[in-house]
């Protein structure tokens, strides 16, 4: 058998939506068309007019990288730069303009984004910004840099894994092995909550899932025959609460089925395992206060996969005080490791993943894999407006063809995986499975603040 290293092919897939420049370069009327800006700009913002080289064309602001060279070189001081109002209006909630536009770039080029000159943000922020990954190994990379680095695996196993194997006296295996699916990336595509995704978009997602060797989670009523045929072993039907398990029909090529949990999930899970022993069952549960208890119950019920669904901003759902996924997942992880049974269940987390680094951070906090939702739409030039009106979509996502969607999504996942490889390499970790719950590779702002304050207040726990 020929050995092939997993690789995500990328190719430039330009957006069809009008660009939303971050920096708007304005040429005032005192411009003398001298062309100094054209010489100054290495990004091609300034060009002479196509039909008449005597005049400068309007600046292509979206190519501007904020270097100010044209502005400082303009002998007439005719150029000014302002922050694009449309850009500033991009996204809402955790979807900052920077996160939206970064994903656009990743989806277009498939490359690791290079942002700004120097770090000028805060050292810590809310949610995932309060987690710093430890990349100390970066000071001693391999001699050949990234090219000479040992393979870093990004594969994850989805399913119930026994904690140990039992053999009889004959030496034959007695442990009953549950089905396990290996995905090449710890990122699944999840259209369950993406109501704006039309048939063509879903088709594109399916093609991307196939290209990436991962799952696409789709509510069962939105799975068409064509979609199923396009990627039969990638599609994971998501069943609504109350689906009758006895009359359930599942395509034989399906590898995993997901159920939104209701009151009687325990019996449902038992019945499912009996009817479809070769398929992985995932229970999708709205993460809320005390979610760790629910997961422990699932463990007891031998449920193979728990899919914890956080809200759009990555917080627990429901009223009252809610935790962010990073804290919630750590609680779940701790609850299971305390019992020594962590490996028996696979945890998928969804919600609040808005940037490449959120994937490894979610995993550090205890998830085995994440599912990508809104990020997928943003990859398709979605602006993540606060009110989504498909009829007046500025990015005309409805008009996107499946191949274009596939290209954009694969580019984004490719760029995200590359960034994960960089982080893993810098952490000195050779496979993403070992990153799960590896809080030793991260610093949590809340923790060190607590520690620091305790020193200030005279010792605290160290008395």
């Amino acid at each position: 058998m020929r050995y092939e290293r997993y690789h995500i092919p990328i190719e430039t897939v330009p957006t069809t939506a009008p660009p939303v420049p971050k920096f708007i370069i304005t040429r005032a009327s005192n411009c003398v068309n001298c062309g100094k800006c054209e010489k100054a700009c290495i990004f091609g913002v300034h060009k002479r007019k196509e039909g008449d080289p005597r005049e400068m064309a309007d600046p292509l602001s979206h190519l501007c990288k904020n270097c100010f060279r044209c502005i400082s070189d303009c002998p007439q001081r005719a150029l000014t730069m302002s922050l694009g109002q449309d850009y500033r209006a991009l996204g809402h909630g955790i979807w900052t303009p920077l996160r939206v536009s970064t994903i656009w770039g990743e989806a277009e080029t498939g490359k690791i984004p290079v942002l700004g000159a120097g770090y000028r943000g805060m050292f810590a922020g809310p949610d995932f910004d309060g987690v710093w990954t430890d990349m100390s190994e970066i000071v001693r990379p391999t001699r050949d840099g990234i090219h000479g680095r040992e393979t870093i695996s990004t594969s994850v196993d989805i399913g119930r894994k026994p904690l140990f194997l039992a053999f009889d006296t004959e030496g034959a295996l007695t442990t009953e092995l549950a089905p396990v699916v290996e995905l090449s990336v710890p990122m699944m595509l999840d259209a369950t909550r993406l109501e704006a995704a039309g048939p063509d978009v879903l088709m594109g997602f399916a093609l991307a899932a196939k290209g990436l060797d991962t799952f696409l989670l789709v509510p069962r009523d939105r799975i068409t025959k064509e979609l199923m045929e396009a990627a039969p072993s990638q599609i994971v039907p998501v069943l609504s609460e109350g689906t009758d398990v006895k009359s359930l029909e599942v395509d034989p090529r399906t590898r995993m089925v997901e159920l939104c949990v209701g009151a009687s999930w325990k019996n449902w899970a038992k019945a499912f395992a009996k009817r479809f022993p070769d398929k992985v069952l995932s229970l999708r549960v709205q993460a809320s206060k005390g979610v760790e208890e629910t997961v422990l119950e699932m463990l007891d019920a031998e449920v193979p996969v728990a899919h914890l669904e956080y809200d759009e901003d990555g917080r627990e759902q429901g009223r009252g005080e809610t935790r962010h996924a990073k804290d919630s997942l750590r609680a779940v992880h701790r609850a299971m490791t305390a019992k020594g049974v962590r490996d028996e269940i696979t945890v998928i987390a969804s919600g609040g993943v808005a940037a490449a680094e959120h994937v490894p951070k979610t995993i550090v906090c205890g998830a085995d894999a994440v599912s990508l939702e809104s990020a997928l739409m943003v990859a398709l030039s979605c602006r993540h407006c606060s009110t989504c009106r498909p009829s007046s979509c500025p990015a005309s996502i409805g008009a996107a063809g499946p191949d274009w969607v596939r290209g954009r999504v694969m580019n984004m996942v490719g760029a995200w995986r590359d960034q994960m490889l960089e982080m893993l390499g810098a952490m000195g970790i050779r496979e993403v499975r070992r990153l799960r719950g590896e809080v030793g590779r991260a610093i949590f702002y809340d923790d060190i603040q607590k520690e620091f304050l305790s020193i200030l207040s005279g010792g605290g726990e160290h008395g």
Binding site: N30, V32, N33, C34, G35, K36, K39, A40, R48, D52, P53, R54, E55, S72, D73, P75, Q76, R77
Partner: protein
């Protein structure tokens, strides 16, 4: 392997980079006329020889808008060839050729004088020296500047400013050349304190047909004759000027008066008690036009006196003069505005569109009655005169009188020109002397000092024995029909004739009034196309030529704003233009420097676009040539200098970091 530095790509420097130098030659028209060949053989030092009619046309006129029939019937104002000399040697080559063939040579600077001095009357060669525009050296210690003849005053002042120096005096058209002003007389700004140009020039070099290069200093007997010689003796090729340090502070003071009498009285008093650098007066009509050009009338109506003071003693003297008279001055920003506008009298031309006038030197004492009589005669002649008076040292003053005249109405315009001669006659009869002779003041050339004219005659015999320098003018005017055309301006004939008209005014004036009314009502252009209107509003001052990057690259004035406006006029008059001429019109960097310097504030870019549309319909355009031109300009260091300077003096030159372009 040897690696050229260019192989590793352009270095990123703090200065904007320039593309590698390219070359550009615009399509030339085929030479016309017999003179071209002869000149091409003689001029070997790189002068540009112009013989195509389209380009020569530009040299058949100066700043003034001369009634067509006068120009075309009386004179052969179209030169047979034009030579743009680049060096002294180039000038001498032309003079040698002219001497040996007996061809006339008419020297020309920027062509911004209105008296016809640089206009040919009998064809010949126009010798354009405006491209000899190098500032040879500035001596900061001795406070002198040596310049070539074609250096424009504004450019020199800009250069001096870098060393903390400034001009002693300059003409009201700052875009005229050093040589040109020397030849036409040299009364101008700051003449009140600094005297005429002559007093501020240490030496001049004159290229003459008879004696080659002649160098004259202030000590020489011939030196004063050069100033106001109007190209009779030779061609000024360079001059060493006295300059001065920039004053630490300076301030124009503006006071308004209810009538010209009190204004002039104040001006005279200020002249003696304040000892300012310069004083000038503007009549109330002139002020009202200035107000008209501002968005709102900001200057108090009335007659204005501007007193320009530099030192503290003068400031104090002025303050106490104001206090003793109980007068109030205008706010400083208005004073500065009016002071700045002194350079742009011709921008009023847009209200005509067209303007005519007269310029005489009179004694200070005679000013008041002189202005009164000019005013009353003007009223009878249906003219509204506006006056400007610049005080000169001693008892003299320069009196300018303008009136609006519609250039589009030929009869009315010709009539107004005739009226202005009548007014000059009146002024001369009251003891004034015309400033500059040229063609139009020739009728009054008999009032010039007899001695000076005789000395000129003697010196001309020595410097220009064959009589090729600007013939048919100054001593005796002649034109297409020899001396016969000259009769039109012959002092012995025209002088008394004009005087006779004045004496018979009760008979003549009503007739003139009738004709004026008739032509105003009936003969004005029914509808004037926008481009022709723009062309008529142009002051023809040539400021745009000095700043035009296309002119820099091509050397053909037809690429400049003035040239394009004249092209539009020529096309409207039915003149056939060539394809090459049409295509040159497209050679433009769209830098708007012309709009920036335009004193008439013409909207030139829309005009170009319209003209180009019309030309493109007829002749197409040559995109390759345009592209080569743009590439060439971008690659030329001279263009770089223009851009760094902000293309125009006065454009924003302060910039962040004091990088290129900062002063």
């Amino acid at each position: 392997m040897h690696v050229e530095s260019a192989d590793i790509g352009p270095a990123i420097s703090p200065e904007p980079s320039r593309s590698p130098r390219t070359t550009f030659l615009a399509k030339e028209e085929s030479p016309e006329g017999a003179l071209h060949q002869g000149l091409a053989r003689s001029c070997v030092s790189g002068s540009r020889i112009v013989s195509s009619s389209g380009e020569r046309m530009l040299y058949s006129r100066d700043q003034s808008e001369i009634p067509r029939f006068l120009r075309q019937i009386l004179f052969s104002s179209m030169p047979e060839a034009v030579v743009q000399a680049e060096s002294e040697e180039g000038v001498l080559e032309v003079l040698r050729f002219a001497s040996s063939t007996g061809t006339s040579v008419i020297p020309r600077g920027s062509g911004s004088s209105p008296f016809g001095g640089s206009m040919p009357v009998k064809g010949g060669i126009v010798l354009d020296v405006s491209r000899m525009n190098k500032i040879v050296g500035v001596d900061i210690e001795a406070l002198t500047a040596t310049v070539q003849t074609g250096v424009r005053w504004a450019d020199l002042d800009h250069e001096l400013g870098k060393n903390g120096l400034t001009l002693m005096t300059c003409p009201s058209s700052k875009f005229s050349t050093v040589g040109g002003w020397a030849a036409t007389g040299g009364v101008g700004m700051n003449s009140f304190s600094r005297g005429r140009l002559m007093a501020n020039v240490l030496s001049v070099e004159l290229a003459t047909p008879g004696r080659g290069i002649v160098r004259l200093t202030q000590a020489d007997r011939e030196f004063p004759l050069v100033f106001g010689s109007e190209g009779q003796l030779g061609v000024v090729t360079s001059a060493t000027l006295q300059v001065r340090r920039l004053p630490e502070r300076s301030r124009p003071r503006l006071v308004m008066f209810p009538d010209h009498g009190s204004a002039l009285a104040f001006a005279e008093e200020a002249a003696t008690s304040v000892r300012p650098v310069h004083i000038f007066y503007e009549s109330s009509l002139r002020v009202s036009y200035t107000n008209k050009m501002l968005d709102t009338p900001r200057i108090t109506p009335g007659d204005a006196v501007v007193v320009y003071v530099e030192d503290d003693a003068s400031q104090k003297a002025f303050d106490s003069l104001l206090a003793s008279k109980g007068l109030k001055e205008q706010p400083e920003y208005i004073a500065r505005y009016v002071w700045n506008e002194r350079f742009f009298p011709m921008k009023l031309r847009r209200f005509g569109p067209g303007m005519l006038g007269l310029e005489v030197v009179a004694s200070k004492g005679s000013l008041k009655p002189l202005m009164s009589s000019i005013s009353s005669l003007s009223t009878e002649l249906d003219l509204e005169p506006m006056f400007e008076v610049h005080m000169l040292p001693g008892d003299e003053a320069l009196l300018l009188c303008f009136f609006m005249a519609d250039q589009g109405n030929t009869l009315l315009y010709t009539l107004t020109a005739f009226k202005s001669l009548l007014l000059t006659r009146l002024a001369v009869d009251k003891g004034a002397t015309p400033y500059s002779v040229g063609i139009w003041n020739h009728a009054f050339s008999d009032v010039a000092e007899k001695d000076r004219k005789e000395s000129m005659r003697r010196l001309k015999a020595e410097y220009d024995p064959r009589g090729v320098m600007n013939p048919g003018k100054y001593f005796r005017l002649s034109g297409r029909f020899g001396a016969l055309s000259g009769l039109a301006m012959e002092p012995k004939l025209m002088g008394p004739l004009l005087r006779a008209v004045l004496m018979m005014s009760p008979l003549v004036l009503p007739v003139m009034h009738l004709v004026t009314e008739f032509s105003k009502d009936r003969l004005g252009p029914k509808d004037r196309p926008a481009d022709l209107r723009t062309a008529d509003e142009c002051a023809m001052c040539g400021a745009c030529v000095a700043v035009c990057p296309a002119y820099l690259a091509v050397g053909d004035e037809r690429v400049t704003a003035r040239g394009k406006l004249l092209t539009a006029k020529a096309m409207a008059a039915g003149v056939r233009i060539t394809k090459e001429h049409a295509h040159r019109t497209f050679l433009c960097m769209r830098c708007k420097a012309c709009e920036q310097v335009c004193q008439s504030k013409l909207e030139l870019i829309p005009f170009y676009e319209e003209l180009e549309r019309r030309l493109e319909r007829q002749f197409g355009r040559d995109p390759q040539e345009i592209e080569r031109f743009v590439k060439y300009s971008e690659s030329s260091p001279e263009y770089d200098d223009l851009v760094k300077r902000g293309l125009v003096i006065g454009a924003p030159k302060h910039r962040v970091g004091g990088g290129p372009g900062a002063l």
